[in-house]
Symmetry: C2
Subunit: 340 residues, 2 copies
Amino acid sequence: MRGVVLHAPGDVRVEDREEPRITAPTDAVIRLTATCVCGSDLWPYRGIEEVDGPAPMGHEYVGVVEEVGGDVRNVRPGQFVVGSFFASDNTCEICRAGYQSSCVHRVPVGSLGAQAQYLRVPLADGTLVATPGMPDDDLVPSLLAASDVLGTGWFAAVAAEVGPGRTAAVVGDGAVGLLGVLAAARLGAERIIAMSRHEPRQRLAREFGATDVVTERGDEGVARVKDLTGGLGAHSVIEAVGTQQSMMQAIRSTRPGGHVGYVGVTHDVALPGMELFSSHVHLHGGPAPVRRFLPELVDLVLDRRIDPGKVFDLTLPLDRAAEGYAAMDERRAVKTLLTP
Amino acid sequence: MRGVVLHAPGDVRVEDREEPRITAPTDAVIRLTATCVCGSDLWPYRGIEEVDGPAPMGHEYVGVVEEVGGDVRNVRPGQFVVGSFFASDNTCEICRAGYQSSCVHRVPVGSLGAQAQYLRVPLADGTLVATPGMPDDDLVPSLLAASDVLGTGWFAAVAAEVGPGRTAAVVGDGAVGLLGVLAAARLGAERIIAMSRHEPRQRLAREFGATDVVTERGDEGVARVKDLTGGLGAHSVIEAVGTQQSMMQAIRSTRPGGHVGYVGVTHDVALPGMELFSSHVHLHGGPAPVRRFLPELVDLVLDRRIDPGKVFDLTLPLDRAAEGYAAMDERRAVKTLLTP
């Protein structure tokens, strides 16, 4: 089968890879309908994360079940399924508490390579959510979004305790930040401040529910958020970048007692203890437990109440994955969908 | 009047200071019944925090109202009152959200010097809680504890979301950590792991409700907490020290999705972003909004349902404050009560 392999920073190739097979009775193999490039894929692509030999890429996926292992009960061949980027048993104590991405048996799907034609999904019963029937083609991008980028934006909004009567601010106008805006709107935020300097992304943010746009960054951005919130800061701030500057911007934009939900994979970040102590914020985040939200998100998509697939502004055949990485790297595309 | 002044690290003197007067119509002046030395007073005493010229010390206090400004409505001369270490209006949006120690009009009582015979309390209506009558003498230490050290341990337990069915762990066996144990017990924790190497403090921890004691520190301490919690870590961890080691010990002792409540004043702490991200913990803390809890804590003390005053294992007249600092610095005393 064809699959994306990263050989070195900037060196994305689509190659023949061995077709995955059932290796454990809890596995499923799915034929991918769509996959995509994640902002976090850009870290090794840019050489900021080390690339350890040729590595299969991709962890976002929807597809049709081809085969299941002998112990799989919840999905069967022929079903359309959405998964998340950590396989999880969904039964351990951590999963039951809603943290499936820290499941005691978790397997990172990224290590298996979902930018491909087929994917082996471990712990299929815990990981995959089947749709009631075969979804309409135009819903596929939104279902694919649910598998990571929407689920991650949603978790950020939940972690930031967005809710009615609250003002949310969103640091980061990538796909996760934009879907954080969508999540904040669905969760009832009274006011949503999107922080973005890019006009097309601002427009999408407004479409997803942003009521205000702040173009300033860093301390100036913080000052603008304070201006908009009676000098206090937002109740809930979503951090969707993962740099020192964006984390500090998020923390400083939050009022005392408010909540920061951070989902940008943190690189070279060190949070100063005394400032955090004085800030009085709640800090929560990490790899989104997408599985917690998947059933609800899939329903919202199938009912056409949300359209997160709009973040895909570039669609390419899998074989042209390298172009998709480059477009995102150069910020010419928000997010690239790949069709295997 | 007599009052404690820190001249330089290790140089605590009790001197004649000018008696405080009403300077704003929202002030009260109280005659102190008891005051004490805080763990945080040891930071400048040890030279870890800079000492900026001779500085009046102390921010924990109970006493009797001598005089009130023209706008004070909630307390009157002759009443016994308990205050907290930040004066707060208790009416602003931040106060109403329960973060009085970040009140938009807050005044640090430490800057006024509560280790003295008299104290001016700004924003008296928002800051002070009067008892129904004059409390019994034996309750004074516990009421004094409510003004900071109990309120701080209590906030840590609330921030760590201690509750029924949960396992709490407490990093730090100073007075705040010990009262974090007490708070965890009152809040219904099923199991409370006190981390302490000091036998008398272990005993007090058990008296306050600890079910387990872990003597190991750092990674060994973390491993012991994991052993005691099915390999997962505690649901709720109270951090009551404020060093890099104690913060990391707290974070690492917490299960994914669990909560760290940190109240140790953080010195030279830098939290590594990637580890925090991967940990999946909730992090909340800062200067305890003691005022939020004061009415409840005062009631618990007056009803003799808790006895937090037990953390005072040394009582000295105010004039011997220097001995009290030294005893705490050398860990000969958990906490020193001073009688003006």
